[in-house]
Symmetry: C2
Subunit: 96 residues, 2 copies
Amino acid sequence: MAHTKLSDAEIANRLESLRGWSVVQGKLHRDLSFDTFVDAFGFMARVALVAEAMNHHPEWQNVYNRVAVDLSTHDAGGITELDFALAARIDELAAR
Amino acid sequence: MAHTKLSDAEIANRLESLRGWSVVQGKLHRDLSFDTFVDAFGFMARVALVAEAMNHHPEWQNVYNRVAVDLSTHDAGGITELDFALAARIDELAAR
């Protein structure tokens, strides 16, 4: 898995394969909304397990049924393939 | 459980019985730090179960091993006894 910071053009290209993600303050950002807190935190628990297995963790905030996720790769100083890989997994988990 | 907004004096008085909490932007705030993401998210999972049982939920954000918690009671437009009750439970769970 590459950890090289992607260019703006590479990021724009990869964003087309995701849904609901944009670049906010240099990070991949997605806002998600669920029916209840149980649903929101259930989603977070699924993402937490996947993130730990990838050894790549989101920055995120939760307010009741809403979760905001920001992804970037600290070591690379920007957005990398690793962030897009985690974003794709998050989309899979959010779609359930 | 009272849901009446507490006065500044009542809040200051109750803050003395907690550790690490302050009022930030009108909410009870505490920053917590753990050894790892697993520890941080394990803490969040414990708090989530307690919060759901209380039907009172935190606003919180997590970045790797750090968790920032904000508590307020939306219906009351401020900080209530319910927030201090949840803060006390959070302190118990954080101390484990």
